[in-house]
């Protein structure tokens, strides 16, 4: 049973408070108990506490499936890129290296790649993914586009990304600010060197010292 098409995933990184609720909710799931398929990443840990939840973006042209030599990563008709098929996956880690979003993870002990499948067991029967049910600030939101637009009047969802030469359209949307200009796509590689402009709070405690320097006691 496919995931209904009018329900979409909206990730709003600016609302993430780094509470780890999504990570622990994901860990609770019986299909991969003890391992979180969602990653909570720090944007720039030296100067900011800003975190961003990373779920699988479910690309229209999934790079992980393109590079899989064992034909183990498949996408179902509703656009959800499923986790590696256990009988096929050889644990080579090609997908881990290839994914521009850094979603797949290799589990060496069981020689398999596992990744977020948008809680297919839940979403395919009309429920929300586990992380979206627990997120207290709705940085992870699963619902209709109308609901997302009504809840976030200052943001607009986008699902087009650019990594150097590669353009990617995804099933999962990321909320971006409407102003100063709504971007046609998010140029991720170009934005890596960009500094935050407004509403950012710098914590210069680590600016003077190298945080990773060896300290003599």
């Amino acid at each position: 049973m496919p995931v209904p098409q009018h329900l979409e995933f909206f990730v709003d990184p600016s609302r993430c408070i780094g509470c780890q609720a999504c990570v622990h909710a994901c860990t609770e799931c019986d299909t991969h108990r003890g391992d979180a398929m969602i990653h909570l990443e720090y944007v720039d840990r030296g100067t900011s506490v800003q975190t961003v939840p990373v779920v699988c973006m479910h690309c229209e042209q999934p790079t992980c499936a393109e590079v899989c030599p064992a034909d183990a990563i498949k996408r179902t008709g509703d656009g959800v890129v499923q986790s590696a098929r256990k009988p096929r996956c050889i644990g080579c880690g090609n997908c881990v290296v290839a994914c521009p979003f850094g979603v797949p993870e290799l589990y060496i002990d069981r020689a398999i790649m596992m990744k977020c499948d948008m809680c297919y067991d839940r979403t395919s029967i009309g429920k929300k993914p586990m992380c979206a049910t627990v997120c207290p600030s709705q940085a992870l939101f699963f619902g209709t586009r109308e609901q997302a637009l009504a809840l976030r009047p200052k943001s607009t969802p986008t699902n087009k990304f650019r990594f150097g030469e590669q353009s990617i359209t995804t099933r999962v949307n990321v909320m971006v600010p409407r102003r100063p200009a709504t971007p046609m796509q998010i140029d991720v590689t170009a934005a890596m060197d960009e500094r935050p402009r407004n509403r950012s709070m710098r914590l210069p405690v680590l600016d003077t010292a190298d945080p990773f320097a060896e300290v003599e006691v």
Binding site: Q5, H6, E60, I73, G77, G126, K127, T144, E146
Partner: protein, 217 residues
């Protein structure tokens, strides 16, 4: 939001729209299986990264489809190919066997050859001879004076059979195969066919071999 797809979805399901109603969990509620529709044609959903049509893509991209319906289709096609090729191989094998048996039937019969005189085989004894060419055979004279001759090669794996005239059998020691002495029929053990019969002609005191009769039952 009169035309909200979630509202229509809930009306189709006839779910109580209140969030805390029993038929509803979280925002989207539980759903029946027949309310979803696949987004795209399952036979044609793989989009290549360069967005060109499938006809212009390299061959491997068709063989290693990313989408599950297409992957299943390819598996079905491979299975059909396997069936056709395997049954074709069986047909070719049968034709080869038929052709070989035709050639064997048309081969000239082995010539007439003197193999012994009656004095060399008193009743209740046996002797070896080769006919035709170097093929080992057994000439057996039973207690009542009747002469029989068989090829000595067991029809199972070509071990040499041993005549037991008092017991009325020919025994193959390799795998306990047993043939009937009077007719050469396989009566016990693994041999699949009776022993080939050497046709005899007795002229006065001389015993001649005149031909070989191979039998299948």
């Amino acid at each position: 939001m009169a035309d909200d797809p979630q509202t229509r979805f809930e009306q189709d399901l006839a779910i109580d729209p209140r969030v805390d109603s029993p038929a509803r969990e979280g925002l989207t509620g539980t759903a029946r299986g027949d309310v979803y529709e696949p987004r795209r044609d399952p036979e044609d959903i793989t989009a290549a990264p360069d967005q060109r049509p499938m006809d212009e893509q390299p061959r491997w991209r068709q063989d290693f489809a990313i989408d599950t319906p297409e992957d299943n289709f390819i598996a079905r096609r491979d299975f059909a190919k396997f069936l056709v090729l395997t049954s074709g191989a069986f047909v070719a094998g049968q034709a080869w066997i038929a052709a070989k048996s035709l050639v064997r039937d048309r081969r000239a019969p082995p010539g007439r050859q003197r193999i012994a005189s009656l004095g060399m085989v008193p009743p209740g004894s046996a002797m070896m001879f080769t006919y035709p060419g170097d093929d080992p055979c057994l000439l057996i004279r039973m207690r009542d004076g009747k002469l029989v001759a068989y090829s000595q090669k067991c029809t199972h794996l070509s071990c040499a059979v041993v005549p037991k005239i008092d017991e009325g059998i020919l025994r193959c020691p390799c795998h306990e195969g047993v043939f009937e002495l009077a007719t050469g029929r396989n009566i016990a053990g693994p041999p699949p066919r009776p022993l080939p019969v050497i046709e005899l002609d007795v002229v006065g005191e001389d015993v001649f071999a005149t031909g070989v009769t191979e039998r299948t039952v």
